[in-house]
């Protein structure tokens, strides 16, 4: 018999490290005479799109074309330390440091523009390739011309931005306190079909509503959402790390199975944008939030289909048949007696 069900699952994720662990980033930026900029940041491009994201933020903040940005990342011989790439912190921490580097560079640029335009530097805005008096738009100079002017006059053409979200620590005995700089949010919905004869669970539909704060690059956010959900699906249903007497028995991709294109639905990304005033242009990370709710979402859909709950991973066909009482469970199960709640 094949039964269908729909389930939902949610999560929150404390972004960054918390607990007084160092959580900072530094970005350097240099203005060339032709108005192009070079960005140095010590964070790693893993494939998530960090280089692109930082370049977009810099282009926006300086009001220049994205194509005029170039970035060098993660090289102790060239870049400043930007902290690790983990804890979904890159957009939030490394992104903010890039904005601060731009603002540091804009100070001497605005000073020169103010001199040339005979206007108050504080009233100048950088947008659409121009540096312009926001009260008197006719007073403007192109970013490119200003860049040339900066070099010609020997002005400071390098900016640096440091951003830290290092928190205090929580109380050692109660963990009470401000644990994280901000939090990320996501909810997912799955529709599954369970074959009660074979134990096979097929995910027919997976929709992921993930709060990006502000999607700096929507396609990259979608990529995180789609890829994260598929990693979560693998964790939920397929990826069976068999450890016997300390040995990882199936440590090969022929025996440790990760999802192929044939194992997954077309994940539907639903980007939610709840502006975070502490993030760059309101943005925060999505990599982990997009991964976390998938397994329980699928399990709740299975419960909706069967009336029986999966409280273990992975729900492989064999383990599903055990759950359904069609295969004998031979493993000794941990019981409530094995896990007393510690004293208050």
């Amino acid at each position: 018999m094949k039964l269908r069900g729909i389930g939902v699952g949610s999560m929150m994720y404390g972004l960054g490290y918390g607990f007084a662990r160092p959580d900072f980033s530094t970005t350097d930026i240099e203005l060339a005479p032709d108005g192009t900029v070079t960005i140095w940041n010590g964070a790693s491009e893993l494939g998530q799109g960090l280089q692109t994201l930082l370049c977009q933020l810099v282009a926006e903040e300086l009001g220049i074309p994205y194509e005029d940005t170039f970035i060098i990342t993660a090289d102790t011989g060239r870049t400043p330390d930007a902290g690790p790439v983990s804890a979904s912190r890159s957009t939030y921490v490394q992104g903010n440091s890039a904005l601060k580097a731009c603002r540091d560079l804009k100070k001497p640029m605005a000073e020169l523009a103010g001199e040339l335009l005979k206007t108050d530097p504080d009233q100048l805005i950088f947008k659409k390739g121009l540096v312009q008096d926001q009260n008197e738009p006719s007073r403007s100079i192109s970013f490119t011309n200003l860049a040339g002017g900066m070099h010609q006059r020997g002005r400071r053409v390098r900016g640096s931005g440091y951003h830290s979200i290092t928190t205090g620590d929580v109380d050692k005995e109660t963990s009470q306190g401000d644990a994280y700089a901000t939090y990320a949010w996501a909810s997912q919905l799955a529709e599954v079909e369970v074959d009660t004869e074979t134990g096979q669970v097929t995910v027919l539909r997976l929709a992921s509503a993930t709060d990006a704060g502000k999607a700096i690059n929507p396609k990259m956010v979608e990529g995180q959402i789609e890829g994260g959900a598929v990693q979560g699906l693998g964790f939920a249903l397929m990826e069976d790390m068999k450890i016997e007497q300390g040995e990882f028995k199936n440590a090969k991709l022929s025996t440790y199975l990760i999802p192929t294109a044939a194992d997954v639905p077309m994940v539907e990304p639903l980007i939610v944008e709840v502006y975070d005033p502490t993030g760059p242009y309101g943005a925060k990370g999505v990599a982990e939030p997009a991964t976390i709710p998938t397994a329980p979402t699928i399990f709740n859909a299975i419960a909706n289909a069967l009336g029986q709950r999966v409280r273990f991973t992975p729900a492989t066909p064999e383990k599903m048949l055990k759950l359904l009482g069609k295969l004998e469970e031979k493993e000794e199960q941990i019981t409530i007696e094995d896990m007393p709640y510690p004293e208050p």
Binding site: S10, P33, R78, T144, W185, E239, I243, F248, E288
Partner: protein
């Protein structure tokens, strides 16, 4: 683009331009621009660590422990060193600095010294003129082990008299979260559900297995290229192991074939640095898929007991939980992963009363560390099971029940921290409600459940 050679002329500044303001649409933000790194990747031109090549380059290879817990009585490398083309066979005795590293605490050995603690722990390394000689040399290294009693689950590891994985005991870290009054919270509950949840290990399986490339430049700086999530921490740990000033070590990230948390730890970096330092030659060390899966970190297996209470109105009153996380043979980030799990065990909901304990426990299993989700993913299996079951038992729509209980600005997290306006959980749930309508779907309670 023009570069000015002369002072800007007055008239140039008077060119009429359209008015712009801060309220204008963003020009780069919010746009799906072409990724900076994508053209080299799609044409095969991007250089990953394993693609690096230098004249005179040697090939590195690692010998991994076959024992889960054992004393090393002896290591005989003479036959391996005699293999033609072999330039170095190194063991812990060849480490110039400290034989210790670790992302959170330095409890891990670069090369096992007197004891191995998991199957897959690096014991010796080889550099040779080609990979075949390196492989042959690895197979010629004779390690004499004396097996020790071992523990393979956190429960066994915590039994009185259990074999100690580390001298200081098997509990790496105990986190306690205490908010409100748990007894009063459960007294107020009309319904309580209690369950045990088990989550398994998971391999990150980045398509690029771990790799490192090291060489010494003309200034004598040790250069290490790899796919790493934190070049600066790697630099520090390489320098300590090799007894070098930190500013004489350079670590650079190559194009990287995924990490997902695993490459936050040192992977091949110290080993390949040692081989280059000892031989004076460029060395490339690329793990096979099997070696990577055996030796690197994975997602923590966890066991969670949790009970959750709600009142007749469908409001959560209390949650109590205890978590045992298997961190394997070394700490990696296991203290923080399992700590984060205790804080997030309740999920994105408001509990006036909350109590959780988590234990990160050493065993002789492979190392468990950071993996996308970082303990919160394991916590979600529990809290979403609990919440869904409560909604069912109360006969409530699962999204409505979540909306009734989710955190809102001004409500507090398990640590007492107040939520700000950037609290998006309700918006994500409402988005799913819209999605159901858009797709003509509804969540019907299962007949067996609603009966």
């Amino acid at each position: 683009m023009t570069i000015l050679n002369e002072t800007l002329q007055e008239e140039e500044l008077k060119i009429q331009t359209p008015s712009i303001s801060r309220k204008d649409e963003y020009e780069s933000v919010g746009k799906s621009v072409l990724r900076k790194d994508s053209v080299p990747k799609v044409t095969g031109k991007a250089i990953y660590t394993g693609d690096l090549h230098m004249p005179g380059m040697l090939f590195g290879k690692v010998l991994l422990s076959t024992q889960a817990h054992a004393l090393i009585k002896s290591i005989d490398v003479s036959a391996a060193a005699a293999v033609p083309g072999v330039k170095a066979v190194l063991t812990s005795r060849d480490i110039p600095g400290e034989n210790a590293f670790g992302i959170a605490i330095p409890d891990q050995q670069v090369l096992a010294e007197t004891k191995v603690r998991y199957i897959g722990e690096p014991v010796a390394i080889v550099a040779a003129e080609d990979i075949f000689a390196a492989e042959q040399a690895i197979s010629q290294i004779q390690v004499e082990y004396e097996p020790l009693p071992a523990v393979f689950s956190p429960f066994d590891a915590l039994k009185p008299g259990a074999p100690a994985v580390h001298a200081k005991g098997n509990i790496l870290y105990h986190t306690k979260v205490r908010k409100g009054n748990i007894e009063r919270g459960f007294d107020e509950a009309a319904i309580i559900v209690e369950n045990i949840y088990r989550t398994s290990g998971q391999d990150h399986a980045p398509i690029e297995p771990e790799a490192g490339f090291a060489w010494i430049d003309a200034e004598g700086v040790l250069n290490v290229f790899s796919g790493t999530q934190y070049a600066f921490r790697d630099r520090r740990q390489i320098a300590i192991a090799l007894n070098l000033p930190m500013n004489r070590v350079r670590v650079a990230n190559m194009t990287m074939g995924g990490g997902f948390g695993r490459k936050d730890d040192v992977t091949a970096e110290i080993l390949v640095a040692l081989l280059a330092w000892k031989t004076g030659r460029p060395v490339r060390l690329v793990y096979s898929r099997h070696e990577a899966m055996m030796s690197q970190t994975h997602r923590h297996p966890t066991y969670t007991r949790v009970r959750t209470g709600a009142n007749k109105e469908g409001k959560l009153t209390a949650m109590e939980g205890v978590i045992y996380g298997d961190t394997g043979a070394y700490a990696s980030l296991g203290l923080f992963v399992i700590k984060k799990m205790a804080l997030h065990l309740g999920g994105p909901y408001y509990y006036p009363n909350y109590k959780s304990d988590s234990f990160s426990v050493y065993t002789n299993n492979p190392i468990f560390g950071a993996f996308r989700g970082f303990g919160v993913l394991q916590a979600a299996v529990s809290h979403e099971g609990q919440i869904d079951e409560l909604a069912e038992k109360l006969g409530m729509d699962p999204i409505e029940f979540r909306l009734r209980n989710c955190l809102r600005p001004g409500l507090s997290f398990s640590t007492g921290q107040l939520m700000t306006n950037a609290c998006g959980i309700a918006t994500t749930l409402e988005r799913l409600q819209d999605y159901l309508v858009e797709n003509g779907l509804s969540i019907e309670l299962h007949p067996e459940v609603s009966a």
